[in-house]
């Protein structure tokens, strides 16, 4: 919330003489690297992304390839060996699939859904928010009423209702997540733009008779970006968690797209008989992903928010 009153970072705090010497992004980078925890988060996040991208090459087994799976290997505890000599480091699930491979592929699906929905929500929400702030008047009031209305309901409830209407499916989950998230971007970008639009450079752009889209996207947008980026990181983490929750409840992704949430849901049935690994390890992967994103997001918020720089 405090992110909403950000000033353009480059103009704050840097003395005029120092402005040329240190490029703003480099200053940001060194500020980011100050926190060890944030660096750990960033490294973790990069590793997770690499695993997700290269899942087919890293996984010991292709969980979609039925010829590689043996039902005789089902529900093996972590570290056990199949008779072909392959070691299941994280055990196997109810169908005899290697958990480690399942998690690698699951990460891929979870991250894709989370990032895609975050990306679309960012574009839609930010455009709406900036336009609302720039044009003002009735349009702004109407848009912000809708945003307030939606934000007064918890995300999970909105998503639940939408998916009850839409049904299951990858596209439907992404659509529901975008609808859930756009309002956060709209509110954040609007409050940043409200501060910016009164500044001289906007007035200058206007007096040059630049077109409205050009002013909004070339002049207003870059200066409103810092708080939007902060919200963006947090929202991607939220989207991943929300998708996992919905898939766990059985109203999210279809069983043909086994995201981490679905893997955990499969393990739920075996949990009470003590076979913890089927839902424990996918959950751990989900947790690590969310923690890594949140650590990065926390540090970004701290360095991009001039109010905290004392």
């Amino acid at each position: 919330m405090s992110t909403s009153h950000s000033e353009p970072v480059a103009s704050v705090e840097v003395a005029p003489s120092a402005r040329k010497a240190i490029a703003p992004w480099r200053r940001l980078l060194s500020a980011f690297l100050e926190s060890k925890l944030a660096v750990v988060g960033l490294v973790g996040l990069v590793l997770i992304l690499l695993v997700a991208i290269f899942a087919p090459w890293l996984s010991p087994q292709d969980p979609f390839d039925l010829t590689q799976i043996d039902i005789m290997d089902s529900k093996l505890p972590p570290g056990s060996e199949s008779y072909t000599g392959m070691v299941y480091w994280l055990g196997t699930d109810g169908q005899g699939r290697d958990m480690l491979s399942g998690i690698f592929y699951g990460l891929r699906i979870s991250l894709t859904v989370g990032i895609l929905s975050g990306f679309f929500a960012l574009i839609i929400g930010t455009s709406v928010g900036l336009s609302a702030a720039y044009f003002g008047g009735r349009i702004e009031t109407l848009i912000m009423r809708i945003v307030d209305l939606q934000l007064s309901f918890p995300a999970i409830l909105v998503a639940l209702i939408l998916l009850a209407i839409l049904g299951r499916g990858v596209d439907k989950v992404i659509l529901a997540l975008v609808i859930v998230q756009w309002a956060y971007y709209a509110r954040t970008s609007r409050s940043a733009a409200l501060v910016e639009r009164r500044k001289e450079y906007i007035e200058a752009a206007r007096s040059l008779a630049l077109s409205t889209p050009r002013i909004i996207f070339r002049h207003l947008l870059p200066n409103c970006l810092p708080p939007v980026i902060v919200i963006g990181t947090v929202q991607v983490a939220n989207a991943i968690a929300l998708e996992a929750t919905l898939s766990f409840l059985g109203i999210g992704l279809p069983v043909t797209e086994p995201s981490l949430g679905l893997l955990i849901s499969n393990g739920f049935n075996y949990l009470l008989s003590g076979r913890y690994w089927i839902s424990f390890f996918p959950g751990l992967a989900l947790l690590l992903t969310i923690v890594a994103i949140n650590l990065v997001g926390d540090q970004l918020r701290d360095i991009l928010n001039p109010r905290l720089q004392r």
């Binding site: 999970i156 639940l160 996992a244 409840l249 949430g261 949990l271 009470l272 913890y276 839902s279």
Partner: protein
């Protein structure tokens, strides 16, 4: 003050109307109920008769008013599965959810505020830092997985607590609740804890941020300069000021706790409205889905209204600003 409340009431009524339109449009979008209700080999004549009997031949706006009229009489149709009036069904499950939500809020307030104040007063101490690290973890833990892990640890491995279900209820002052029986508590504690963890983290962060910001303000310095004891400064002067954001958020979060109960109830087989809605979505029990939506929307509107009024009582500036606009 009464003008303020009246205005908020009017706004809530408008909101309620808007929500009924959305819910109505939502049901309309799900599809034609005739296809579910009537057998596939029915003749065209029977089909037309059913359409007329259900009022589906009327124009859309007329159907909406019929829906509104029925709603005003509390009639939302019968559940396809339970063959009970849908609204009654939802209301009969509500106490179990409220019980869970209140237990969770109680935990998050009694644990969160003291920890948050500690972390705010000593932000650089080991305890303060660990509290904050813990709260980041609390935010990041996926709620459903955390529930599974609680079951795994306390019900499967340690076997201290039951894995699910609602315990026996006992009656106290005319209220029927598991809170009044020992076995009921043993069933309640895990789901309540699961629901509370996220909110506790939130309360910790809010309290800490509030304390840190307030400590820098002039009036606190002045209170200190007057020679008031540290305890009085913290518990009277600082505490009063951080209450405003806390009350708002705790109030608003009550609604989200009820919404999030969907997950916890599913995991712990807790027979509340959350489990009911998930089960109903699976079998497309439309009247129950609609009844749930209406009840939850109404609850949110009431909660928002109460929070707004409380807020204006706590902070007169809000009231004044609203009057001017």
């Amino acid at each position: 003050m009464s003008v303020f409340i009246l205005r908020r009431l009017m706004q809530s009524l408008v909101l309620l109307c808007v929500m009924t339109v959305i819910v109505f449009a939502g049901i309309y979008a799900i599809g034609n109920p005739i296809d579910i209700l009537i057998s596939a080999d029915a003749s065209q004549e029977e089909y037309d008769r059913a359409v007329r009997a259900l009022g589906l031949d009327l124009p859309l706006w007329e159907q909406y008013f019929v829906f509104l009229g029925n709603l005003a009489q509390g009639d939302l149709g019968k559940s396809f599965v339970f063959n009970e009036p849908a609204l009654q069904l939802v209301l009969s499950r509500l106490p179990a959810t409220l019980e869970l939500a209140f237990a969770a809020m109680l935990i998050s307030i009694t644990v969160g505020i003291p920890l948050g104040m500690w972390a705010g007063l000593r932000p650089d101490g080991i305890a303060g830092r660990s509290i904050m690290a813990g709260s980041i973890l609390g935010f990041s833990l996926p709620n459903f997985w955390q529930g599974l892990m609680l079951i795994m640890i306390f019900a499967v491995f340690l076997q201290w607590l039951p894995a699910g279900g609602r315990g026996p209820t006992a009656s106290f002052l005319g209220m029927e609740s598991t809170l009044f029986s020992a076995e009921g508590w043993s069933h309640l504690i895990l789901p309540a804890l699961n629901l509370a963890l996220f909110k506790t983290s939130l309360v910790i962060r809010l309290t800490r941020a509030g304390v840190r910001e307030t400590l820098l303000l002039d009036y606190v310095k002045f209170a200190r300069a007057k020679g008031l004891s540290t305890g009085r400064v913290i518990f009277v002067h600082v505490f009063k000021n951080i209450l405003i954001p806390l009350v708002t958020v705790i109030g608003l979060e009550l609604g989200s706790v009820i919404a999030f109960a969907v997950v916890t109830e599913t995991i712990f087989a807790w027979p509340g409205i959350g489990k009911l809605i998930i089960d109903s979505i699976f079998v497309l029990d439309r009247p129950v889905i609609v009844a749930y939506l209406i009840v939850i929307v109404l609850m949110f509107i009431v909660i928002n209204l109460v929070v707004d009024i409380l807020y204006s009582v706590l902070d007169p500036r809000v009231r004044l600003a609203d009057m001017k606009s």
